[in-house]
Symmetry: C2
Subunit: 132 residues, 2 copies
């Protein structure tokens, strides 16, 4: 007699699936943050199955919009992301994935996908006390 | 003679616009992070004009997917986001907006839109040394 496999192992639980507000492609945005330094490493996309794999396996899996396929981060590069925690935002269209990132998160070799990519911006004037 | 207004004041600069990889609705994801605590506060959406306003004004402006209109964060609630820095990721489909958030970021009253909204997840087993 084969071992029973619960439907929860095969599909994202209904309770979570009901809270997702997917875009027209069936995806939600997934913000990936290093758990200790709090650095934002990258943003990827997940459908129900990518989220299920991420929650069940301890490794982050995305759905690639350009390649239209699942990719488990690090399978090619070795730069894996071990899941520390996952949260879904108030309106269900964004996930925050807390991870331990091994090596650089970015395919260009930088630690985060935002490193060295600042845009020119006007920021709030800061009041500076004259040095006495 | 009226003051000259450069095209840069009216439109997002071509240099930045060329780097954006917009979705089918013309939007990129914008991750908002508190500049000092590094907490991820929320995720919003920006088109070219919302990004231009954010870069030029020092206040974060999003484009609402549900209401199909611009909203400058805090205009209704008072919970404004002052821009500290903006970066665009390696493939141009995500922005990281570093801000000083006044009050809660979430419309539900929590500091971040992810607070108290964790999903059950399997995480990497952690090796614990027995206490001697």
């Amino acid at each position: 007699m084969p071992a029973q496999i619960s439907s929860e192992d095969q599909q994202l639980s209904t309770k979570i699936a009901e809270r997702l507000k997917r875009d027209e492609a069936g995806l939600v945005a997934a913000v990936v943050q290093q758990f200790d330094s709090k650095e934002v490493l990258m943003l990827g996309w997940m459908d129900d199955e990518a989220l299920r794999r991420t929650l069940r396996s301890g490794r982050v899996t995305f759905f690639s919009r350009s390649r239209q396929e699942y990719w488990r981060k690090g399978d090619t590069s070795g730069h894996i992301q071990m899941v520390k925690a996952v949260a879904l935002d108030c309106d269900g269209d964004a996930l925050l994935i807390s991870v331990d990132q091994h090596g650089p998160a970015c395919h260009t070799g930088t630690r985060s996908c935002f490193d060295g990519r600042a845009l020119p911006a006007f920021v709030e004037p800061v009041f500076v006390e004259p040095v006495a």
